[in-house]
Assembly symmetry: C2
Homo-oligomer: 159 residues x 2
């Protein structure tokens, strides 16, 4: 992946706050919207999800999922030129006794400072998604398969 694309991927993951979450519902795809945050090194992505939501019921049955994070469409450019990344992995609950719980909670609240009250509601829990594989489209003809190592590498880039 060229340096410009790496920079673009780093910025995309750092600045966007919403992802499309793909889960399995009766073995078929279902996509919903979710807020996400990630550790600085991009090794883990966190979502805060309500047990009442279909996507949470889905991942509790089958943890395989996918997140797609796209550049905001402001209607100014052709869609195929918008950067977007697909991450694939599994979602697992992060319980309060998890050694990463405090850091994950802090990391989530940093991105969503007004979501604190959701942690107090009984039906909301943090889930960790550990990306295993990914695909990044930086623009037309600039598509890359990405690995965990690529994510780690771009996470060290500064703007």
């Amino acid at each position: 992946m060229d340096a410009d694309s790496q920079q673009l991927l780093a910025r995309l993951l750092r600045t966007q706050r919403l992802a499309a979450l793909g889960t399995l519902r009766d073995s078929a795809p279902s996509v919903s919207m979710i807020g996400f945050s990630s550790f600085q090194d991009l090794s883990s992505v966190f979502i805060l999800a309500s047990r009442l939501a279909y996507h949470t019921q889905d991942i509790l049955k089958d943890p395989r999922c996918s997140l797609m994070i796209a550049e905001t469409d402001r209607g100014e450019r052709e869609p195929q030129n918008l950067a977007r990344v697909t991450l694939r992995g599994e979602a697992t609950p992060v319980h309060e006794e998890d050694p990463q719980y405090d850091e994950a909670r802090k990391c989530f609240l940093k991105k969503f400072p007004e979501s604190g009250f959701l942690f107090e509601l009984g039906d909301f829990s943090l889930y960790r998604i550990t990306p295993k594989t990914g695909r990044f489209v930086a623009g037309v003809g600039r598509t890359f398969n990405i690995s965990v190592e690529d994510l780690r590498r771009v996470s060290t880039l500064t703007d």
Copy 2:
């Protein structure tokens, strides 16, 4: 579904041009970005996809898919207040000999007037997604399962 939510759903499907497309890749979810257009009555949604893209390879193996269309996040409101709709169905190629091909092509070009050249490229084809079930989140506490009939009904609403 209340009248305000119906209006919101109609507007969302009419004004947004991009969707998150969920497909099955090795039986697991994968989400990508795609442009979409739909017939006026919302009975069919169309995407123009390249055989080189992973999502196209996925739907050619297993047509089950999901589209999620969300209100643009301008960072002004809490994410849970953004309207979004999940549609689930199957994607089938619309070949040139298909009776709906001309109408589908016209409908796609109306939304993406600069995509005409893609129809000339050998690897791009139109696919029809016929929604079977759906779920609409109009905002906090305003979540609705939606049917084909609901889609048809909201399609008749004017702004």
